[in-house]
């Protein structure tokens, strides 16, 4: 009933709700990964850190850029497509922990880029918080 009343006040209300809930961002990412505009990735996680693997076939390793800003990891590159055409891509990830900037390693093999990102030492342990009785 409330939804109906809202519809009277704002005829587009239901549509707005639908638009807000619709996972546009997710679908967009999934579609771009499928269509090859994004490199596809596998991300492995553990207490030690993360391993990110990205498919970068046809990308010259010299034109591949991996950068870290705060806790955002960005992959950037340029794919050759014949003599005249080239395609640029960029993909960023929010990382769920503080990283050890010094020890990030990246290697390529057979068109797969592997990035090893260790956690910053001392950020691993979960801390239990004691609840005090008043």
């Amino acid at each position: 009933m409330r939804a109906y009343l809202n519809t009277i006040n704002n005829p587009w209300g239901m549509f707005d709700d639908w638009m807000t809930d619709f996972p546009f961002e997710f679908l967009n990412t999934a579609w771009r990964a499928r269509s090859g505009q994004y490199p596809r990735v596998n991300v492995w996680e553990s207490e030690k850190g993360l391993i990110v693997e990205a498919e970068v076939a046809g990308v010259d390793p010299n034109k591949l850029e991996v950068s870290v800003d705060a806790n955002v990891l960005t992959l950037k590159g340029e794919k050759e497509q014949g003599k005249a055409a080239r395609a640029e891509f960029q993909r960023s990830f929010n990382l769920p922990f503080e990283l050890d900037n010094e020890n990030i390693k990246a290697t390529t093999k057979n068109g797969v880029l592997t990035i090893t990102i260790p956690r910053k030492a001392g950020t691993v342990e979960k801390r239990k918080i004691a609840i005090e009785k008043l």
């Binding site: 996680e45 030690k48 498919e55 057979n110 068109g111 797969v112």
Partner: protein, 125 residues
Amino acid sequence: MNLMKRNEQDVQKVDRVEVTPVTRVDESDDAFTLTVEMPGVDEKDIALSLEHRTLSVTAQNTVERYKDYTLAITEIPEVRYHASFELPERINTAGIKAANRNGLLILTLPKCEEVKPRRIEITAG
């Protein structure tokens, strides 16, 4: 149905989805170049065969697994790549060359001598 006798490798082959790799064809004066995108494929996992005028490429990728790690995002499946190309008469099948670089399989298909552009000299007569 004789499922029990299959060895591990066979089972893995059955489980993999077959996909057609992204392919591009470029032409130059003396050859066609087929570029097949197959990331994660090791050279030893590529099988190339030529039967009459059909060139087939079959390969499978290796998706690395890490001990003690769990997968957070999975977008790369284990697949079997398969593509076959019908080569036209003007390709010299004996001279086909293949190279593997950066996850790309690059096939050079030279043209027959008769179809290559050539200059015809004009003689004064």
